[in-house]
Symmetry: C2
Amino acid sequence: MTDNPEVVGSALDLESRQVLPMIEHLARLARRDVEAMVGEKGLRSRHLVAMRLLALEGPSSQRDLTDALSLDPSNMVGLLNDLEGHGLVTRRRDPSDRRRHIVELSSLGEAELRATYRDIDTIEDQLFSALTETDRAELYRLLSLAIGSGSQACDEPPTGEC
Amino acid sequence: MTDNPEVVGSALDLESRQVLPMIEHLARLARRDVEAMVGEKGLRSRHLVAMRLLALEGPSSQRDLTDALSLDPSNMVGLLNDLEGHGLVTRRRDPSDRRRHIVELSSLGEAELRATYRDIDTIEDQLFSALTETDRAELYRLLSLAIGSGSQACDEPPTGEC
DNA sequence: TATTGTTATACTCTATAACTATA
DNA sequence: TATAGTTATAGAGTATAACAATA
């Protein structure tokens, strides 16, 4: 723990077990693979994530979706336009609050999502080939845990309020 | 396991323990936090990843860096221009192969990297607050394992050769 | 001829601000 | 006044192609 920057020999304590750089790296690799594989259909990574959420949560408002995905509302518009244009989701007004749109996965969207999941499984098999089944289950658990708390409990990043 | 897309009740088997969507989600959250925190210095997530690699591997050619980070060579140029402009890395010709640039982290860059790591630690503490220390060590192990094999063993994504 | 680095370029992703319609 | 959704726009991320210098 020297604070002298001249000591170049201490490269190792520059490596402090951080996971964020690795997550960013994996995300870039994965996105490239996913879009190379399903890109022919005009679908991209973000579309799949949104459809996945709709499959899990059922019909939701755009506000719910943007909050859950931590996306900007204006991005969600174009994203859903794409999906709706392909007939993968439907949008309708909420009768009880006509400002809201209720977004729902269509049966075509569900079928498409299933097909895409098989593609993603293939990519994951390759990307995580060094991990055992137990490892992968554990990875799933850890990431679920992080997302479950990290993105919901504390929305505003650096306010210090959390 | 029905293959009838009409069966909407089977939402749960659409959720097949995939980690890629979560990794992408976490990456987006993390990048936003990181850039909100260190953005004032003009540094971005990619800069930190590159500096981190230089700290770990020592002086490297641009080709080495682009391969390790799975980035496009043309992106690396601008990235290193930024770092060099801030005095965080140095570039010099390799005497034994004058096509190559040898890139090296400067002592200023090392100091800056140390300071940034403390910021990133803070973000990770918050993002992974639901995980125990053991969990986080395990997460680090699993991601390292995936990157160690996934990105090096198989560079070309969908050739089927891997 | 192949490789390293570079420039130019275009397309995607993400964020901000201003607007509308509803509440 | 506040909220859900939309539009327009700009900045950052990423990929491709063409090029110069060197091997």
